[in-house]
């Protein structure tokens, strides 16, 4: 459906300095539709900082991030990206369904309806359950369901496999492969070895 238009996310000469410590400098990458960028590195090597720069939460100390050739703050970028960080971003006092309805209202509706997305992440019977009654892995799957119901091209995922079981990891890998096949792109950090068949994975090692 989005095959016609290719999107492009570029980082040029990015650097990040935190508390007088250089986390990374002169970092460049070029990502187009259908590709995955996997960030690797030890704890504290700046993976999350890079992701937050790509979200626009942080300004890079040098360099810039370009979306289809324009700086991210001057483009449609925020309407095209979705982020799942270490914090799930769901309210524990609301039900699964209420949480997704709010997410949907904040974005633009995407490929799947809420019911379809819940079925995809295997939470179909949980729509009236308060989030505080869910397990950590189920909360994670709920926050990943947000990616499916809103319109987006870039997924930015910070350790998406945390607290998921083997089955859950396989499930998310399938969703990621589907997203790339339909013209999306993904930037993620992960300690797990991801298995994405038929997807072009670029790796950047931060040290």
């Amino acid at each position: 459906m989005q095959e016609k238009s290719t999107y492009r996310l570029q980082g040029s000469d990015l650097s990040c300095i935190r508390d007088d410590r250089v986390l990374f400098e002169a970092l460049s990458f070029d990502l187009v539709s259908g590709q995955v960028l996997l960030l690797e590195g030890k704890n504290g090597s700046g993976k999350t900082s890079l992701l937050r720069i790509l979200c626009g939460f942080r300004e890079p100390d040098a360099g810039q991030v370009l979306w289809c050739g324009d700086a991210i703050n001057d483009s449609q970028y925020h309407a095209d990206m979705a982020y799942v960080g270490h914090l799930d971003g769901v309210k524990k006092e609301l039900t699964v369904l209420e949480n997704l309805k709010v997410s949907l209202a904040l974005g633009r509706s995407g490929q799947y309806s809420i019911a379809q997305a819940l079925a995809k992440v295997q939470l179909a019977d949980y729509d009236d359950v308060l989030v505080q009654a869910l397990s950590a892995g189920q909360k994670r799957r709920l926050s990943l369901a947000r990616l499916l119901i809103t319109h987006n091209t870039v997924w930015i995922l910070d350790e998406p496999f945390t607290s998921l079981d083997k089955q859950g990891i396989a499930l998310i890998e399938t969703l990621m492969a589907e997203h790339c096949a339909s013209g999306g792109m993904i930037v993620l950090t992960s300690h797990h070895d991801i298995e994405l068949h038929g997807v072009d994975v670029q790796r950047i090692s931060l040290s």
Partner: protein
Amino acid sequence: MSLSHAFFAIIRRDLVLALRRRSEIANPLLFFVLVITLFPLGIGAQPHLLQAIAPGIIWVSALLAAMLSLDSLFRSDFDDGSLEQILLSPHPTSILVLGKIIAHWLVTGLPLLMVAPLLAVLLGMPSQSLGILLLTLLLGTPVLSLIGAIGVALTVGLRRGGMILSLLVLPLYVPVLIFAGNAVEMAGSGLPVDAQINILISILFMALVLAPWPTAAALKMSIN
């Protein structure tokens, strides 16, 4: 999908959240009632003195109750990551933030209005100033939420922001306190209060238009 849909979705979300954590509504209201009831006990049997300082007591208590409730405005959203999602929304952050402020006022400001007449009677306030008291609270408490939002947005990222928040916000509350307190006092002696009310209306409109922008900008800084 549309901006108004997102705006009302945020208001509805915050109202539902407030209903499920009732202490958020009850705390500022209880504080307001308790502080006001302590004054007659502390001052003793001097009804004239109490009557004279009643407008000040009610307004200072309302100010402190508003301060007490401010932290809940962005705290839980900041802690669980919902704030990041709100800021990433393609809709203008300032409008979404305005939705949150309105919901916050409905939950913490509006209840003060409901109990204020009762407390005014308790303090022996003349009945001709009751209407003006309610009017000033109606115009003034939203301003407290709007101005307070800027301060909370600046301090939400700090671990112990409470003290700084009061120092930042209380001086900005002073104009509201002066004009509102003065209006209620003048109304008690049967004098016209149009000027004070007009000034409060203009402060409200200015805060409504100007406060959401710095709040949105400060939130972006805080989640950095």
